[in-house]
């Protein structure tokens, strides 16, 4: 293994794995809904990096991976808009945005 580091598919896959790990920990660990949303964005970025890396190293004859990374960006933008409007509604109704305290539908 004497190839340079940034021409290895390992480096990018491990970075996207690390982003997935951070995102899972954040979604489980954060209390506020905005913190959970930030962690979700980390997970989506890890998925996009994974797609682009595999596109560049495994199937370099087409660009489907890059196109799907762009689609992921669009979906993340729409998701963030809807989620943030819901979070602001929850704040207007309950005066807090803690995920653990929202148990009105559970009762």
């Amino acid at each position: 293994m004497n190839a340079i580091l940034y021409d290895q598919v390992f480096a990018y896959l491990f970075l996207s794995l690390f982003l997935l790990f951070c995102g899972i920990v954040g979604v489980l660990y954060r209390r506020t809904l905005i913190g959970m949303l930030v962690s979700m964005e980390l997970i989506m970025n890890g998925a996009g990096l994974n797609l682009v890396a595999l596109n560049r190293f495994v199937v370099p004859e087409n660009v489907y991976g890059s196109a799907f990374a762009l689609i992921i960006m669009g979906i993340a933008a729409a998701e963030a808009a809807v989620a943030l409007s819901i979070i602001i509604l929850i704040f207007k109704k309950y005066q807090h945005i803690e995920g653990g305290e929202l148990k009105e539908m559970k009762d």
């Binding site: 190839a3 660990y29 905005i34 980390l42 669009g74 979906i75 993340a76 945005i97």
Partner: protein, 167 residues
């Protein structure tokens, strides 16, 4: 070690540091700054993957749109400094880190067994090919994405206009 490798390592370290800061920092504003740092790092990684268009879109969409949107939500969602309760119990952190590490190790095993040989192909496709792909074969997903964004924005406006808070 060449200078390109040094820059790659520093970009990777910036990405990892931003992700850790986004997850572990106590205040939500610091977490947002960590997210922005991680986004810039990922844009640098896209440059190393020969996709400068994706790097530009990453900075435009994530840093320019989503991070600003989350910053507005942090400002609108009230005085968070009155309740500095982002730190939870140690047991919950341990459980979260345990589940994350389990997934990390499992997927590390998958990655190391699947991609054991080194692949260095030449990659000479650019932005023009992405555009041709979007307007030939991926026409329907492209239009569906625009429809999704329009419906999402309309739904956000409806939620913001026709809802009543507690007065």
């Amino acid at each position: 070690m060449t200078i390109a490798e040094i820059i790659f390592l520093s970009v990777a370290l910036v990405t990892m540091g931003g992700a850790v800061m986004a997850v572990l920092s106590g205040s939500i504003v610091n977490a947002l700054m960590g997210l922005v740092i991680a986004m810039f790092g990922i844009a640098g990684l896209y440059v190393y993957l020969h996709s400068p268009f994706l790097a530009m879109m990453q900075i435009l969409i994530y840093v320019g749109a989503i991070a600003v949107l989350i910053a507005f939500a942090v400002m609108l969602a009230g005085p968070l400094y009155l309740k500095p309760k982002e730190w939870t119990t140690l047991g919950k952190f341990g459980a979260a880190a345990g589940i994350g590490l389990l997934a990390f190790l499992l997927l590390t095993r998958v990655v190391t067994t699947t991609f054991s040989r080194s692949l260095v192909p030449s990659f000479r496709l650019g932005t023009k090919d992405i555009g041709r792909l979007f307007f030939n074969e991926l026409m329907l997903p492209f239009e569906l994405i625009s429809l999704l964004i329009v419906v999402g924005v309309l739904g956000a406006i409806m939620l913001a206009l026709f809802s009543r808070g507690r007065k």
